[in-house]
Symmetry: C2
Subunit: 335 residues, 2 copies
DNA sequence: TTGAAAGCGCTAACAA
DNA sequence: TTGTTAGCGCTTTCAA
């Protein structure tokens, strides 16, 4: 940011006042065409670029929305972000993205930074819905939309998918095929998807008259390594599960890798359903049955809600729930 | 950004001047402990958060670096970004990410926006190395590091991988196995990787005494659809290639999908090597031989160069070249 | 249709 | 050790 030309340089060059220059920059009208031409030329000549920092200071708007996600390397998020970015660009809004790496501490820092920078709104998938730093957002009256993981604070909108329903359907599909011993690879229980997907599992088990078995419940962290650890754990059991349900994409990948390493045959020896579709699902044999959700839609709705919140000063707390669908392929065998 | 508490509110609350408050906020020392305590309390009481916009205006630093990538949904970039973000966070710098969707026009807008916001530096994988808007970055004296795709402008650093070498090795591996008709799925020729990977192909063909055949050269756009179109094109040839080399990950995925749709058997009927590793590579049968590169390292080096450029006012143009490696798996058969 | 000037919230030089 | 004050570059009254 070295001695760039300022609005004053342009004014001098054009022989007018800075107020007039400001008027043409912001297209407010009420400037003689001839004057405007002079100014436009002066802008070109000086290479002037409006200083958004100074502008933000006056208008108290940054035209920027902050996006906070837990893990940029989980392909689910780039898809959602892509949707948000496209919509934001249409509306001439800009996005700041930061990823917390599933750490509530980092999340707190990022929120602080976003507040300092003065974002107009925030879209967040929180690493921990009990993170006290989330309340900072409210204290500063920053319009906020939670996505994928619920935040129970007043005036925060939530765009969620019906995890219970999604995992219930997955489980029902497994159980209808006669499986009785079904292992689950859970996500963190302090996140909505982690908790709710486990709920769907429990609901299905109960409905089909089956008891929960602690040995068949593995608590993972949504990273692929826990998928592989879970499979190893299940494999070492004296009574192995005949089917496994994995609660997210990354853990599914880890699990499938481990299945292969262990020579535990997918489909014939152990059925499998994963939450979230993944690239490899249709490439492996048998292809993988998964719970699918509309990531693009999720991002778009979140953006629309945020936009509305920012520009209409809406203060209530809306909740949108999308229903995922079961994509039945070949990885569940009949018993 | 509604009537948030300002430094003045804190000063009033603590009964001191704003200068003193500023001193403790910025940890400059020279403040009596008792005064400092009063101020810290006042900050808590008022819920004050430093306004980074106003601060940036004075110190002419935003502590923000802009990252521009062509496609956030290409998993190569999240990996690189992740590395940059981690390093940036360590140094208390923040990142703004925007993706151009491979459009030079959008890229221009994003650059403009970054300039307006006053980023301290930019890391960019350009959609078009001839984009005239890139020069804006120089005019405004913004330290810039190009990553993956070269930018030939004075004072721009480049962190590249040796595409020629990588694709040469891939081709050499194919040709050594006796293949003579090798199709290539190229990327856009106005990008470094697109152009150079094609060069490596040509170099290998020449060295092995083979003629180029226009029918075996397909010009794609680095998206998966062109991978599948390319395979279809090759399949319809009266003399089909016995091996295919794909120039990026997404096109490889599209190509493999099409291979299956066409029942054109990978390995036995057509050998295949892809540039960049992909998740499915080790999941399919036969597993896919690929050119691998160090994405994390790429991001880290780029960040280090940028950081150095920003804080030492270095003006020369460094160039770092990383060498990719061939990961030989099973998708190339001997003829 | 234009210009002068106040002030956004902050930092830093200077003074006390 | 603390306070006063001049801007940073811009937008926006108010006046001309």
């Amino acid at each position: 940011m070295n001695n760039k030309p300022t609005i004053e340089d342009v004014a001098k060059e054009a022989g007018v006042s800075i107020a007039t220059v400001s008027r043409v920059i912001n297209k407010q009208g009420g400037v003689k065409e001839k004057t405007e031409d002079k100014i436009i030329n002066a802008i070109k000549k000086t290479g002037y670029i409006q200083n958004a920092v100074a502008r933000s200071m006056k208008v108290k708007k940054t035209n920027t929305i902050g996006i906070i996600i837990p893990d940029i390397e989980n392909p689910f998020f780039p898809a959602v972000i892509s949707a948000i970015e496209n919509k934001a660009r249409e509306k001439n809004l800009y996005t700041i993205l930061s990823s917390t790496n599933e750490s509530a501490l980092t999340e707190g820092k990022i929120i602080g930074n976003f507040l300092e920078r003065g974002v107009d709104g925030v879209i967040i998938t929180t690493a921990d819905k009990n993170n006290p730093n989330l309340e900072l957002l409210l204290k500063q009256k920053i319009p906020t939309v939670a996505i994928d993981r619920e935040i129970n604070l007043p005036s925060v909108d939530n765009v969620l998918i019906d995890n219970v329903q999604g995992s219930y359907e997955a489980m029902a599909h497994i159980l209808k095929n006669g499986h009785q011993k079904v292992g689950i690879i859970c996500g963190p229980q302090n996140t909505t998807p982690g908790y709710e997907r486990f709920l769907g599992y429990q609901k299905a088990m109960k409905e089909f008259g089956l008891e929960l078995d602690e040995k068949l419940i593995y608590y993972g962290d949504f990273k692929d390594s826990s998928g592989s650890k879970a499979v190893k754990h299940f494999f070492e059991l004296t009574e192995r599960p005949t089917a496994i349900f994995s609660c997210n994409n990354l853990m599914t990948i880890g699990a499938i890798k481990e299945l292969r390493a262990l020579n535990w045959s997918l489909g014939s020896e152990v059925s499998f359903v994963g939450f979230d579709d993944i690239e490899i699902a249709t490439f492996i044999q048998p292809s993988l049955t998964v719970v699918k959700r509309q990531m693009y839609e999720l991002g778009e709705i979140a953006f629309d809600l945020l936009h509305e919140k920012i520009y209409s000063n809406r203060l209530d707390s809306k909740k949108v729930m999308l229903t995922p669908s079961l994509e039945i392929r070949q990885s569940v065998n009949k018993i």
